[in-house]
């Protein structure tokens, strides 16, 4: 029997792309549980329906591009996009909203560019922004958290909300970030006392949601799925800016660092969106810059912009800048003197 001829290395590490994606999916579980606890089954229904649409879109695109279905579907990247987008969407979103969002993410933002690895923009965030601009009402109607407006809806109601939106008349409530944005007369302290949406240090419920995503992110870090650079830089710059402009809690205050860290999609964004390898900077120094600038943009848009939360916009803007950052932050090669960026 002829011997096989292969080039080195012959050994391969345990990590695979499929496994990376599965780890990311697994790490979202604590966040999803907490979201469901505080806001009811809406997010879960979102995710199930979103995954079905995502796999369908991915299959369609692969079929049109004449690629083997099984080989590409098994990398689980479509599921990751669906999970991330559906977590970001308000619970009890109608089925068509989810379908449009997922289709935009998978077909426009990912497959049109050549599929996994070739997309310049984070697909989930691209889908999110398309929905936010197109359907602002539906996209800003968040359900009230547990303990403010009676019991959250059950499974049946959640399904009804999704698939026959006309029949379901859900209750919505402004999110803590909305409240802070609308405020122009109250001191932070009074705002806190007068609105039921605020919790101990972040938004009510939101603080736990953020803690859960932080835990998931920490586990991914421990598993070395990504490096600490981008998320830590983002959280640091966000905290720094909010500390500088806290203004002693006056009526013009942008909110405390703690509030910013544990409200809205901060932790979810830091550990699940900013860390998307395909669309972020690659070099370690580049990741620091990339993360820090996202933090700055998040703060600026949250406090000064038109939208209450800003992760999606900040990330997309920085996606543009990632190749540029990479070019100027190339590491110093062994045996070379000085950094070589920008030559």
């Amino acid at each position: 029997m002829a011997l096989m001829r292969l080039t080195s290395p012959h050994a391969h590490g345990p990590m695979s792309t499929q496994r990376v994606m599965q780890y990311v999916l697994l790490a979202t579980v604590p966040g999803i549980i907490v979201l469901t606890y505080f806001f009811g089954f809406g997010t879960l229904v979102n995710i199930v329906w979103g995954c079905i649409v995502a796999v369908a879109c991915e299959s369609l695109a692969l079929k049109l591009r004449r690629r083997p279905l099984g080989f590409y579907l098994k990398d689980c990247s479509a599921l990751v996009t669906a999970f991330l987008l559906c977590i970001a969407l308000p619970p009890y979103s109608p089925w068509w909203l989810i379908a449009v969002g997922i289709a935009s993410a998978i077909l426009l933002a990912k497959q049109l560019y050549g599929g996994l690895g070739y997309n310049p923009f984070n697909p989930a965030m691209a889908g999110y922004v398309i929905l936010l601009i197109s359907f602002p009402v539906q996209m800003t109607s968040w359900a009230p958290p547990l303990g403010t407006a009676g019991d959250p809806p059950g499974v049946w109601q959640a399904l009804q909300a999704c698939f026959s939106p006309g029949l379901y008349d859900g209750v919505t409530m402004a999110t803590p970030l909305d409240v802070l944005k609308q405020n122009n007369s109250l001191l932070i302290e009074d705002l806190w006392l007068q609105n039921p949406q605020f919790g101990t240090f972040g938004g009510l419920g939101w603080e736990w949601v953020n803690l859960a995503f932080l835990a998931g992110g920490a586990w991914l870090l421990y598993q070395r799925i990504f490096t600490w650079h981008a998320p830590v830089a983002m959280l640091a710059s966000l905290s720094l800016l909010s500390a500088i402009f806290y203004d002693g809690g006056s009526s013009a205050s942008g909110g405390s660092p703690l509030f910013h860290l544990f409200s809205g999609a901060t932790m979810f964004g830091a550990f699940f969106i900013v860390t998307d390898p395909v669309t972020s900077a690659v070099s370690l120094r580049g990741r620091l810059i990339y993360g820090a600038l996202i933090g700055v943009l998040v703060y600026v848009i949250r406090v000064r912009g038109n939208y209450p939360d800003a992760i999606a916009f900040a990330v997309l803007i920085m996606n543009f800048a990632a190749p540029f950052i990479d070019y100027y932050t190339q590491p110093r090669t062994y045996g070379h003197s000085g950094n070589r960026g920008g030559k």
Binding site: M4, H10, H12, S16, D75, P277, V278, V282
Partner: protein
């Protein structure tokens, strides 16, 4: 405790070293046949110094070093030279290479070995010469001749001598067992190296996964001033550049040598070989090789003769061919698959790895790069492998060079870490080869451009000179005409006419005589030349000079010329007699010549294709011989490299043409 430094990146693949260290080094014995490739190292191949059928003794030189970066080859045991022919060797390309085949006689008789236990009595140059004569070449990686590596440019200050006992590749334990069993020899070898190099510090660097080896070395090094430094296990800390950084904190400049940062490195195996060469006078004829992998029943280390077929060694370790689909020489990270199980062990064969499919599975198809950066984290050269991959796919060679592709040491850490199973190193290797090819092409084109331009210039210059001369002549003639015109009126014209008439008359009467005379002269001079050439040939033959062949062809040629001249003379005489008999006008001589030429053409046309091909072949062979002679002369005279290269390429081209011609001949004969 010496401070050690880290290096960027690295990976921790499963070590798999325990399997092969359970038993001491075993002697592999003498196989039924030994195959010694003439080139086992970087640099020029050795030149054969034996003939077929000759009996050689163990340690006898069978091939001489040729050039500076080359080492001789020695007979690994006593026996008979069975063949000198091209065989398949352990090389990733799977090509054939010239080898000397020895059939051992089983007596294992040594030549007389003269050792120098008191090496301090020799100076450095003599020691280096001794090491070179013993055929010691790097036994870890590329097999660079040790004597070359140790020849430090004068004036270079070497601070640190490093003996590399890292052995960071998984599975391999050849250096590990040497440290355990022959620590004294390693230390003795290190002392010899220290004497040659004269460094401030002599260090032996070992990864901390070899505690037994470290303990043995420390015990042997007591009081010697040689320090054993251990450091955390991480692949590829055994890479020369990485080890230097670990032990000294310094980085070898890109494209530079370790001596530029005051460091010289030697491998453990080479250190023992140097000890053997100097103290016992024994050449490098055997080495320690690890045979391991789940497709062998008893993984272990062997002391094996260079040239032993891999099959023989594998069978000693209980090889199970049915379980083994790829056979790797070296480790799983940087080793290469050998083309055939019968290729011989060479000086750089530190390991034979016979894995099962489950142990090292066939790589699955590559997925898309997700730019996760795990490769960049693993890269010991701090490159951006994902970026290089991107450029390699697009064949953007300038960008590749700009991103320092040539600093890649091909350690394979990036490919190992890649979650998408992309064969990154393969892309880099291919790109490097392509870039080097382009560079060569470019250089060639540049050289021919220069050549063309200088030729053009020369021609123009010659033309200009000619033009100037012509102008000068014209001017002079005009001047002369002027002065003549004034002095002697019609005389010159008359005189010229008279001269022309006289010449014509003389020609008509003496043409035949003149022709005859010329031909006779030609015969005489040819004969004279033949005599001198023959005399020279005789002399050369008696002296045994290399020029005999050349002279022989010279003689043959002159003889042919003489024959032609004689023939021409005879023809002429014949036509003259014919002319006198048949009263033909003398102008017929010219017609006869034309007829002769036509006849020759016809004869040529009448030649069969085979004869024609044969004639062509003969001509080509003659040209080849001539070119080779010029080449040899050029080499001997130390001509410019360009000239040599050009001649060499001509030789190659002629050889190709000859083989084409041979084919044609074959075809013609078949037809």
């Amino acid at each position: 405790m010496r401070k050690t430094y880290g290096f960027h990146g690295g990976i921790h693949p499963p070590e798999n070293k325990h399997q092969s260290v359970r038993t001491p080094i075993a002697d592999a014995g003498i196989p039924p046949e030994l195959v010694i490739p003439l080139s086992q190292h970087i640099g020029a191949p050795a030149g054969v110094a034996v003939t077929i059928g000759e009996h050689v003794r163990k340690g006898q030189v069978i091939a001489e070093a040729q050039g500076f970066v080359s080492v001789p080859k020695h007979a690994p045991t006593s026996g008979t030279i069975h063949a000198i022919e091209d065989r398949l060797i352990a090389h990733p390309s799977g090509h054939l290479a010239p080898c000397i085949v020895i059939v051992p006689d089983g007596k294992d008789e040594w030549i007389e070995c003269v050792g120098t236990p008191h090496y301090e009595t020799l100076d450095k140059i003599e020691l280096l010469e001794l090491i070179r004569h013993a055929g010691v070449a790097g036994m870890g990686g590329a097999g660079f001749p040790s004597s070359v590596k140790l020849s430090i440019k004068a004036g270079t200050d070497i601070e640190t001598l490093i003996i590399n006992g890292t052995e960071c590749e998984p599975y391999i334990t050849a250096d590990d067992v040497l440290m355990r069993e022959r620590a004294e020899q390693i230390i003795a070898g290190a002392k010899i190296l220290r004497y040659i190099i004269g460094p401030k510090d002599t260090l032996i660097g070992v990864e901390d996964n070899k505690p037994e080896g470290i303990a043995a070395l420390r015990a042997a090094a007591q009081g010697s001033g040689i320090e054993i430094v251990d450091f955390p296990t991480k692949y590829p800390s055994g890479g020369e550049k990485q080890l230097i950084e670990i032990l000294t904190g310094k980085q070898v400049p890109s494209g530079g040598l370790p001596s530029q940062v005051g460091v010289v490195c030697q491998n453990i195996g080479s250190t023992v070989a140097i000890y053997d060469a100097v103290v016992h006078g024994r050449p490098l004829i055997s080495r320690v090789t690890t045979v391991t992998g789940n497709a062998v029943r008893e993984p272990q280390n062997f002391q094996v003769l260079i040239g032993t077929p891999m099959r023989y060694l594998l069978e000693k370790a209980g090889y199970q061919p049915e379980k083994n689909r790829r056979l790797i020489m070296g480790g799983p990270m940087m080793g290469f698959t050998v083309p055939d199980i019968d290729v011989p062990i060479v000086k750089t064969t530190n390991c034979l790895l016979a894995p099962t499919e489950a142990e090292l599975p066939t790589p699955p198809p590559a997925q898309a790069c997700i730019r996760c950066g795990m490769c960049a984290e693993a890269c010991p050269a701090s490159l951006l492998p994902q970026q290089l991959f991107w450029f390699a796919q697009g064949k953007e060679f300038e960008k590749l060079e700009d991103h320092n592709l040539f600093d890649c040491i091909e350690c394979g850490a990036c490919s190992y870490a890649c979650p998408s199973n992309i064969p990154l190193v393969q892309y880099y290797r291919a790109s490097k080869a392509e870039i080097l090819r382009l560079r060569r092409d470019h250089e060639k084109a540049e050289a021919s451009r220069v050549r063309f331009e200088s030729r053009q210039q020369r021609l123009e210059q010659a033309e200009a000179e000619k033009e100037a001369k012509r102008a000068a002549r014209k001017k002079a003639a005009e001047q002369r005409a002027q002065t003549a015109g004034t002095d002697t009126e019609e005389d010159p014209i008359q005189a010229a006419i008279a001269r022309a008439q006289a010449r014509k008359a003389a020609q008509q009467t003496g043409a035949e005589e003149g022709e005859l005379e010329k031909l006779e002269k030609a015969v005489v001079s040819s004969r004279k030349r033949l005599d001198t050439a023959t005399a020279k040939l005789e002399q050369a033959k008696s002296e045994g000079s290399d020029l005999v062949d050349a002279l022989q062809t010279g003689v043959d040629k002159t003889r042919a010329k003489l024959a032609a001249a004689e023939q021409a003379l005879a023809d002429h005489q014949q036509t003259r007699t014919q002319g006198s008999v048949g009263d033909k006008p003398p102008a017929d001589a010219a017609r006869a010549a034309i007829e002769k030429a036509m006849a020759k053409r016809q004869a040529e046309a009448a030649l069969s294709p085979a004869e024609k091909a044969r004639a062509d072949l003969a001509k080509l062979r003659q040209r080849l011989q001539k070119t080779e002679e010029t080449l040899a002369r050029g080499k001997a005279n130390g001509d410019e490299e360009k000239v040599i290269v050009a001649l060499e390429s001509t030789v190659v081209r002629l050889k190709e043409k000859i083989s084409d011609a041979e084919e044609q001949l074959q075809a013609a004969e078949d037809a």
